[in-house]
């Protein structure tokens, strides 16, 4: 049974179905049911998957546009499987969180489901044209989600998000086409392109192809100086939208670097790696420092994403450094992949928490919030836990990721490792100071009787918490999954890194 195809397109079917059922309750049931089935199927997929092999599994390939050498080629491996699970989980939780959505619930749920199809598709396709299609399909629904259900400045934020990402994806399309034209016979199949290596070397051509990919993925990730869409979009989006934006959409950038850019232009990437590492470190430190200066809690969380994605970029840059020790490169690549998953869970949880708070206090001004631990003890504890996870407390998810990146970087770019540690330090200060301002201090009289967390909110948070702890305490299986890809890889995912395991 083509289970992967089923997983990818079931949300789309659900979205269409939504327009044929009457009433809000039925819509809700269809939307939640669909994403629940998708989540279940993804878990089944993960269980059936061979975690050691690292090879491409559940592969399906049928001709799509043979005249152009494009096929419907999907499959999953250790790099894509965790991200498929993450997308399915966060979409399900986001829809669960939006249970009481009362403004146009039908359209709201439908857009989320269409976006889920796009996201699942990106993470499981091995045809570059199809990759581009899914990459863009996830863009339009998010425009409407921000623009229709967002906060005060939603329309500008939505437009900015749309235009930025579009510029990036067009640059990426040019690079994809260059790879397509350079391969004989012309094909969009990633495996065939990686095998043929049409843009080997470090000349002008490979550098331009790298530039296209870099613009595309660095805007999505985002890395300085391409980040300015992010704070606006994340802040103005409705809670469920912010969760998907930060939790999954940013991952497209990191995944694109690892899956597409590294294997197709390895030498050019290596030649520019040091510069990219420098950008990554600046991004990480800048993100943390600017987050500290924010007065809006949601904007603060948004900027902390710039910080975390800086580490991903650093890991990718180290992995791309051709001359470095293969085991350092492998550690950095594995750390970057781990960071993608960890950030999805932790920042998803943070945006949920901010959303719960604004639902109650109706403000996100840090200056106005204080003493909330007294009013909402359980909520306060959850916020402490999640922010500690985000600043990289040992035994929680981010720690496992960042340790691998730092260790990998130390052997390659010592200065970058120092810069990264500085970034972590600023993040720590930033989150501790935020906790102090929001949770401690005097509680304003108007907030003494805030309603406690509902069971739905608690379920959402607990499921994320369990995973955050699990990934922190037992990093072995997930690291093993990434190692499997690096060691055997479909094709040569990271050229040269394989040697580390030989």
């Amino acid at each position: 049974m083509p289970v992967l195809t089923l997983i990818i397109f079931l949300p789309l079917v659900g979205a269409i179905l939504l327009f044929f059922v009457p009433g809000r309750a039925a819509c809700r049931a269809v939307a939640l049911g669909t994403s629940g089935i998708v989540l279940t199927l993804s878990v089944i997929l993960a269980v059936q998957c061979n975690w050691q092999s690292g090879a491409l599994q559940f592969e399906e390939q049928i001709p799509w546009i043979p005249a152009l050498g494009a096929s419907y080629h999907v499959g999953t491996d250790g790099l894509s499987l965790p991200l498929v699970l993450l997308s399915a989980l966060l979409t399900f939780l986001a829809l669960l969180f939006s249970w009481n959505q009362d403004r146009h619930p039908r359209a709201f749920f439908a857009l989320f489901l269409v976006m889920e199809t796009g996201l699942l598709g990106v993470f499981s396709t091995f045809d570059l044209l199809l990759f581009y299609v899914f990459f863009e399909v996830s863009l339009v629904p998010m425009y409407f989600i921000i623009g229709l259900w967002g906060h005060e400045r939603r329309i500008e934020a939505a437009l900015k998000f749309f235009l930025y990402t579009r510029v990036g994806s067009l640059a990426m399309l040019l690079s994809i086409l260059a790879l397509y034209l350079g391969t004989a016979p012309r094909t969009f199949d990633l495996m065939a392109i990686v095998a043929a290596q049409p843009y080997a070397g470090t000349g002008l051509g490979p550098s331009l192809v790298l530039l296209g990919f870099f613009i595309g993925f660095a805007i999505k990730l985002p890395v300085i100086p391409f980040h300015s869409w992010l704070p606006d979009a994340h802040t103005e989006a409705p809670t469920a939208g912010s969760v998907i934006l930060a939790g999954v959409l940013l991952k497209l950038g990191g995944y694109g670097f690892l899956r597409v850019a590294l294997p197709t232009v390895p030498e050019a990437f290596g030649a520019w790696a040091e510069l990219i590492a420098a950008l990554a470190v600046i991004s990480a430190v800048y993100g943390a420092a600017v987050a500290m200066a924010q007065t809006d809690l949601k904007r603060l969380v948004a900027f902390s994403s710039v910080n975390h994605m800086g580490y991903v970029m650093l890991g990718v840059a180290v992995a791309a450094t051709v001359w470095a020790n293969p085991s350092d490169r492998a550690a950095a690549a594995s750390g970057a992949s781990y960071q993608l998953v960890a950030h999805g869970l932790v920042t998803g949880a943070l945006f949920f928490l901010v959303g719960m708070l604004t639902d109650r206090t109706e403000t996100r001004e840090i200056g106005r919030l204080s003493g909330l631990w007294a009013a909402l003890p359980l909520y306060g504890s959850l916020l402490v836990f999640t922010m500690f996870a985000s600043l990289g407390l040992p035994a929680l998810a981010h720690f496992a990721a960042e340790v691998q990146i730092v260790l990998g970087t130390l052997g390659v770019y010592r200065w970058a490792a120092v810069g990264m540690l500085l970034g972590i330090l600023v993040t720590t200060a930033m989150f501790l100071w935020t906790l102090q301002r929001v949770l401690l201090g005097e509680l304003p009289a108007e907030w003494t009787t805030l309603p406690g967390l509902t069971p739905r909110e608690l379920t959402t948070m607990l499921s994320l918490m369990v995973l955050i702890i699990l990934l922190g305490v037992v990093p072995g299986p997930l690291v093993g999954l990434f190692e499997g890809v690096l060691r055997h890889g479909p094709g040569t995912i990271l050229t040269g890194i394989k040697q580390a395991y030989v």
């Binding site: 005249a67 152009l68 863009l139 339009v140 329309i155 749309f162 235009l163 399309l173 034209l181």
Partner: protein
């Protein structure tokens, strides 16, 4: 080169010509409430012509009427294209002109213009080309000005007339130069004789002929008539002009360049690439500032002509170019006509095409708004709509031809165009819904809108059929040059 009276080869043309002769006198005999019947008669005639054309799909290339008229897959492709455009526009004019003066003449004129477009795509003789260009133009300006009571329509028709007269005269001058040089008007014979002629004169003649073609295709700098004419014309007619004559102009341009002109003449491919870059950039830059949606679509269709020209420029340099162009034209039919007809549906309810008045219409006219959104996203090149596959093929053609700069300019243009397209979408959906209720679109228009939206989606999700057909038509055109 037999006989010269191969009537079997022009059955579709004969059917259409006969139908025009029936339609024109039919109108006055109908009672005023029944004038709409002419639309359905025209639809039937076009369907008959389509069936006659479809029979010719697999015919091998041949030249008839003393080598002046081509019967090949390329021509058939454009026959079916022109007929489809006209059929769909008829569905929209049916409601648009109901009860207005000259209601019964519109279908006849549309069929007549369709005949001109079909002839243009198949002609391989300069006199025939000039003749059919005039036929298309005459039909167009009557259609634009047929709403005599509207000052803007009259202004649009006058502009179209003056520009076409000037452009047509320059084109004829170029053709006479070619005749003076070679003593022949037939494209295949020109191909044999032009290589020995002084290249500079040949280039000059080519340039002059291009003025006439460029006017039809709205190539910058011969585009200035389009915004005024499209804005003044009845909206379905503006949609018709932006798709039909433009496609016919591209067909004749491609045939002339492919068949008659030597490949190494001057640097014409390079010049054409620069013209493409100029056209798309000017179109997009001017579209940014438009507050009238019809003017915006007019400039957008100038920009689209720029993308299409990429296919013409790269025609001899990369195998993707001509199939890409032919494929893009089909998609362009669906998305551009979809946009114009959806604007027609909205404009009829709110009484204006001012952009700001489109605010919140998405909540009141869901079908028109949805089709407009799909069409605009497709024009902006978003998957899974057809515009994406077409643009990808043209991108590939530009890169394959060695023009990375052109591909980058095209990419920047597409990114820029998203801004004005999305501003319309934003108005439709993200603004408060107006209080007053609207009437639904007429049934025929609804049907046309659904067909066009499905076309945009199917050409994007399952493009294989069209890509194959376009490749075949392109191969046959290439074969006819030998």
């Amino acid at each position: 080169m037999a006989g010269g009276m191969e009537l079997w080869a022009i059955v579709p043309e004969l059917v259409l010509a006969g139908w025009v002769l029936v339609l024109l006198p039919l109108g006055p005999f109908l009672p005023s409430a029944r004038k709409g019947v002419t639309t359905w008669v025209a639809v039937a005639g076009l369907a008959a012509a389509a069936i006659a054309s479809a029979r010719m799909v697999s015919w091998p290339h041949q030249s008839v009427f003393l080598d002046t008229y081509a019967v090949d897959s390329f021509a058939v492709y454009f026959k079916l294209f022109a007929i489809t455009v006209t059929e769909i526009v008829l569905l929209a004019t049916h409601g648009h002109f109901r009860g207005r003066p000259h209601e019964s003449e519109v279908p006849a004129l549309l069929v007549l213009t369709c005949l001109g477009m079909i002839g243009l795509a198949a002609s391989q003789d300069l006199v025939l080309i000039a003749l059919f260009v005039q036929l298309v133009t005459v039909g167009s300006y009557i259609l634009v000005g047929i709403a005599k009571e509207d000052r803007h329509a009259t202004e649009g028709a006058l502009k179209l007339f003056l520009f076409s007269a000037a452009a047509g005269a320059v084109m004829l001058y170029g053709m006479s130069l070619l005749y003076g040089l070679t003593g022949t008007l037939r494209l295949p014979e020109l191909a044999l004789r032009l290589p020995t002629m002084p290249p500079l004169t040949v280039l000059a003649a080519l340039g002059l002929v291009l003025v006439g073609y460029g006017f039809k295709i709205t190539v910058v700098p011969f585009h200035a008539w389009a915004p005024d004419t499209y804005q003044g014309a009845p909206t379905p007619i503006a949609g018709f002009l932006s798709v039909g004559p433009k496609a016919a102009g591209l067909a004749v341009l491609l045939r002339t360049l492919q068949v008659a002109f030597p490949r190494d003449l001057g640097n014409w491919t390079q010049d054409m690439a620069m013209l493409a870059a100029l056209t798309m950039t000017v179109g997009n830059l001017f579209a940014l500032r438009q507050t009238s949606v019809k003017r915006l679509l007019a400039y957008s269709s100038i920009a689209q002509a720029g993308y299409l020209l990429v296919g013409v420029a790269a025609a001899t340099r990369d195998v993707l170019a001509v199939p890409g162009l032919l494929f893009y034209l089909v998609v362009y039919l669906f998305m551009n006509l979809g946009a114009f007809l959806a604007v027609d549906g909205i404009e009829r309810q709110i009484g204006t095409d001012e952009r700001e008045r489109f605010a919140g219409v998405g909540g009141r006219l869901p079908l028109s708004a949805a089709v407009l959104t799909i069409s605009l996203l497709s024009l902006a090149g978003f998957p899974p709509f057809g515009g994406f596959v077409g643009k990808t093929m043209l991108f590939g053609a530009a890169l394959g031809a060695g023009w990375a700069w052109l591909a980058v300019i095209m990419g920047m243009n597409i990114a820029l165009s998203l801004y004005y397209y999305v501003r319309v979408i934003e108005l439709l959906y993200l603004r408060p819904v107006p209080e007053r209720s609207f009437n639904q679109e007429p049934t025929a228009l609804r049907f046309a809108l659904i067909v066009l939206a499905l076309g945009s989606i199917l050409t994007g999700a399952m493009p294989q059929f069209w890509v194959t057909w376009a490749s075949q038509a392109a191969r046959l055109l290439a074969a006819s040059t030998i």
